[in-house]
Amino acid sequence: MGPDLEPSDQPALAYEQVSRRYGGVSALDAVSLTVAPGSFVALVGKSGSGKSSLLRLPNRLDTPDEGRVLVAGQDVAHVDPIRLRRGIGYVFQNIGLFPHMSVAENIGIVPRIDDRPAVDVTAALERVGLTPDLANRLPAQLSGGQQQRVGIARALAAEAKLLLMDEPFGALDPVTRDTLGRTVRKLHDDLGLTTILVTHDMAEALLLADRILVMSQGRIVADAGPSDMLAGRAGPEADALVAIPREQARRLHELAP
C-alpha cells in the first residue's frame, strides 16, 4: 500500500516552500500549506493562478522545482510514484474515463493494475448515486454527470483517503453541479476523506468546503473558513471573489416577487 493516510497527528498533506516554474513563468511561488486530516479544502482563483499546479504535486503528476510535498508526513519525492498514485484518488475536469472500458472496468482499474481483489462495482456505483445496471455501459453511453460520478467512483474504488479534484464539475450543467457537489460532500463525510477541490466558482467553494484558499499569481493570498470569507475577514482578493456570488444573490433577491 501507499503512504498511510489514516487520520493521525501528521497533516494529511503539507507543502513546504514549494515553487514551480514553467519556462521561466512562475506558477507556484514558495507556497507553504498544511492540510489537516479529514478537512475539505477548496482552492479558488482565476485561471493561471496556480491552483491546478498545486494539485498535481501530491501524486507526482508534476514535480516541484523547489521545496517539498509531504503526504501523511512522507516526502513524496522518496515514494514510488506508481504506488503513490494508486493510494490517492484523482478526479479531472475532463473526466478522463477510459473510453474502451466499461463502467465496471473503469471503476475496477486500480485494484486490477495493483493485483488486488476486484471491487464491488454495485456498491461503488450506489455510493456515487448511480444504478448498478450502468456497469456494462461504455462511458460514451452515459451523460456528462453520470460520467463524472463514475470518475469519482473510480478515484475512490481503491479506498483512497486523500481525494484530489481538479475542477470536477467544470463541464457540467448547474443542476448536475449542485447535486454532484452534495454527493461529494456526503462521501467526504461518510468515508472520512481529506479532500482538495480546485474550483473557480466561489459559491461552490463556500457551500462545500470547510476551508477556502484563494490563490493569485502562484501564491496563497487568502486562507479562511466560509463564514470568515463571507464576513470579509480574508483580505481584498477573497472579498473580490466573494463579492460576485453575493451580488448575484442580492439581484436574485430583488427579482423575486
Binding site: I82, R83, Y90, F92, G96, F98, P99
Partner: protein, 539 residues
C-alpha cells in the same frame, strides 16, 4: 522450386504453334498444368507475404511506438518509409540483387541474392509505411486526458501501453495493417522476377506465351487472396473497435486457419523439379520426353535442358545440374574415362558401373537395349562393305561428319587403325549430313547406328573388322543425388532393356523425315507404348 520457377525453359521444348501436328492439345495440356500449379503457388505466395508482414510488424510496431513520442524520430522513420514507397516495386526487388551480392561477398558468401530473401526484404520495406504511419497516428490520436488519467490511477508505462494505448490505437493501426497486407499480397507477385515462386508465375508466363487465361488466373488468385485477407483483418479491426471480443477471435482464427491451409502445401516436403538432360539430336529429344513422361506419371515435376554438348552433359549430371539423361557407353569410355581399349559390351558396362561408383558417384540405371554406335556409312552401290576397303580410296573421298565426330577419340581410333586420309572433311548438323551424302557433297558419313535414315536411305554401314570403335549402348544415367532414391529409380527401371534398335530407328525417323514430321513428344509417346507392350507379360 516449382515448375513455374523457370517458365521459359519449361516452354522451350515446345514447338511454336502452327508447326506441330496438333499444337492445341499440347497447349491445353500446358494450361491444365498451369492451373494445377496454383495451389502450391498460393502456398508460397502466402508464405512470402505473411513473412514480410510479420517482419514489417516486428519493425513497424516498436518503431511506431517510439516515434509517437519522438517527433524527430517520427519524421525520419516516416520519411524513409515514404521514400521506399516511391521506388517502383520491381526496381526495389532488382536493387536487392546487387546489394545482397555485395553483402554476400563482404561476409565471404552464403547470402542468397535471389529467391526468398530479396523478396522478403523488399516486401517488408514496402509494408513498413502504412503500418508505421497508422501506428503513430493511432497513438497520437489518443485523448491526452485519457493518458493523464492512466498516469493518475498509477499505471506503469507498460500497463498504460497494454491497457490503454494499444487498445485505443488498435483500430487505426489495424487499418494500416490492412492496407499493408493488401499491398504486400499484390506486390508479392513481382517476387517471381527474382526467382521466388508466387502467383506472379502464371502472370509472367502467360505474358510470355500470350495466354491471357494464365494471366487472368494469376491475377484472380492474387486479388482473391488480398480480398479474403482484407475481409478477415477487417473483422478483427471491427472486433477491436467495437470491443467485440468474439468478432476479433473469429477473425483471428479464420486468418490463422487460412495461413495454415495456404502454408501446408508449401511446408510439405515438395518435390523439386527433375531436370532431364538431352544432347542436341532427335534421339536424345525423344528419349528425354520419354523419361520425362514416366517421371511425371510417377508424380514428379519435370523440366528439360536440351541441346547439351556431349562432354557438358555428363559434367552437368555429375554436378547435379541435370538429374537424368541418356548417354552412350562408348562416349563415356573414350571420353570421361579416357580408355582406348574396346572391350565387350558386358565388360564395358561393368567397367562403367565400377568407375562411376568410385569416381563421379553418378548412377548407371541400366542399358536401354539398343546401340547408337558411331559408324561410317556410304551410299548404296558405292562398292564398300568394310572400313578396311576405304583406306586406299580415301584420299579421293570427302568425309561428312557431325559437328563432334572429328574431335572425338572414336574418329581418331578409326583413322589410326585403318590409316584413313580423306581428301576433305566437312562437319554438318546431322540432318544436313545425310543430305550431303545423298547429294554427293560427301562420300562417306559418320552415321549413327540407331538412325532411322540408315534404313530409309538404304545406306551401307561399313564393318569394323579391327574393332576400332567401342560399343555405344544407350545407357540411362542419374545424378549422384538419386543414388538411393528408390522411388525415382523405380520410375525409370522399366525402360532398361526395353527399347529395340528398330523401335528407336522408327521413332527417330518420324522426327527426322522431311515430310509429316512428328514432334519429339509425340514420338516419345509412341515409343512409350512400345516399351509398355514389351514390359507387360505376354498372355
Amino acid at each position: 522450386m516449382h515448375g513455374w520457377g523457370r517458365p521459359s525453359k519449361q516452354l522451350a521444348g515446345f514447338a511454336p504453334p502452327g508447326t506441330t501436328p496438333n499444337p492445341s492439345s499440347e497447349e491445353q495440356g500446358l494450361v491444365k498444368e498451369a492451373f494445377s500449379q496454383l495451389p502450391p503457388l498460393i502456398g508460397s505466395h502466402v508464405l512470402l507475404a505473411s513473412a514480410a508482414m510479420g517482419l514489417a510488424l516486428l519493425i513497424g510496431l516498436p518503431l511506431g511506438l517510439l516515434s509517437a513520442r519522438r517527433p524527430r524520430l517520427a519524421a525520419v522513420a516516416v520519411g524513409f518509409a515514404g521514400l521506399v514507397q516511391t521506388i517502383p516495386g520491381l526496381a526495389l526487388l532488382a536493387l536487392f540483387y546487387p546489394l545482397l551480392l555485395a553483402i554476400s561477398a563482404l561476409i565471404g558468401g552464403g547470402v542468397p541474392a535471389l529467391g526468398f530473401l530479396p523478396a522478403l526484404l523488399a516486401l517488408t520495406l514496402y509494408a513498413l509505411l502504412p503500418i508505421l504511419r497508422n501506428v503513430i497516428a493511432g497513438l497520437q490520436g489518443i485523448d491526452p486526458a485519457v493518458l493523464q488519467a492512466a498516469n493518475a490511477v498509477g499505471m506503469t508505462p507498460r500497463q498504460r501501453l497494454r491497457l490503454v494505448e494499444a487498445p485505443l490505437a488498435a483500430p487505426v493501426a489495424m487499418a494500416g495493417i490492412r492496407t499493408a497486407a493488401v499491398w504486400t499480397i499484390g506486390t508479392a507477385t513481382l517476387a517471381t522476377t527474382v526467382g521466388y515462386p508466387t502467383l506472379g508465375n502464371p502472370i509472367f508466363a502467360g505474358l510470355q506465351i500470350e495466354r491471357w487465361d494464365l494471366v487472368l488466373a494469376g491475377c484472380v488468385a492474387a486479388a482473391g487472396l488480398a480480398l479474403v485477407t482484407d475481409f478477415l483483418l477487417g473483422l478483427i479491426e471491427r472486433g477491436i473497435g467495437r470491443r467485440n471480443r468474439r468478432l476479433t477471435i473469429v477473425g483471428s482464427a479464420l486468418l490463422a486457419l487460412g495461413l495454415v491451409a495456404a502454408g501446408l502445401p508449401a511446408l510439405r516436403p515438395t518435390e523439386r523439379t527433375i531436370t532431364v538432360g538431352a544432347k542436341n539430336f532427335s534421339e536424345q529429344y525423344i528419349l528425354s520426353r520419354l523419361i520425362g513422361a514416366r517421371l511425371e506419371r510417377a508424380g514428379y515435376h519435370v523440366a528439360y535442358r536440351e541441346g547439351l554438348g556431349s562432354a557438358v552433359a555428363f559434367r552437368a549430371l555429375a554436378s547435379g545440374d541435370i538429374d537424368v539423361y541418356v548417354e552412350y557407353s562408348g562416349t563415356l569410355w573414350a571420353g570421361a574415362m579416357a580408355r582406348s581399349d574396346t572391350p565387350s559390351r558386358a565388360a564395358m558396362l561393368e567397367g562403367i558401373a565400377r568407375w562411376m561408383a568410385t569416381g563421379p558417384k553418378t548412377v548407371l540405371i541400366g542399358p536401354l537395349g539398343f546401340e547408337n554406335a558411331y559408324a561410317l556409312a556410304v551410299r548404296p552401290g558405292s562398292g564398300f562393305s568394310s572400313i578396311a576397303d576405304l583406306a586406299s580410296r580415301a584420299p579421293k573421298l570427302t568425309l561428312g561428319a557431325d559437328l563432334e565426330f572429328l574431335d572425338r577419340p572414336e574418329w581418331h581410333a578409326i583413322r589410326d587403325a585403318y590409316d584413313l586420309r580423306f581428301a576433305a572433311t566437312r562437319a554438318y548438323s546431322p540432318t544436313f549430313m545425310y543430305r550431303a551424302l545423298r547429294s554427293g557433297q560427301a562420300d562417306v558419313i559418320s552415321a549413327f547406328s540407331s538412325d532411322g535414315r540408315i534404313a530409309a536411305d538404304h545406306l551401307i554401314v561399313l564393318a569394323d573388322p579391327k574393332q576400332a570403335v567401342p560399343h555405344y549402348d544407350a545407357i540411362l544415367l542419374a545424378s549422384p543425388t538419386h543414388a538411393n532414391d528408390a522411388r525415382f529409380l523405380a520410375a525409370l527401371r522399366p525402360l532398361v532393356n526395353r527399347i529395340s534398335v528398330e523401335d528407336m530407328r522408327s521413332a527417330n525417323y518420324s522426327v527426322d523425315r522431311d515430310a509429316a514430321k512428328t514432334t519429339p513428344a509425340t514420338a516419345a509417346r509412341w515409343l512409350d507404348k512400345r516399351v509398355r507392350s514389351r514390359t507387360e507379360p505376354s498372355p
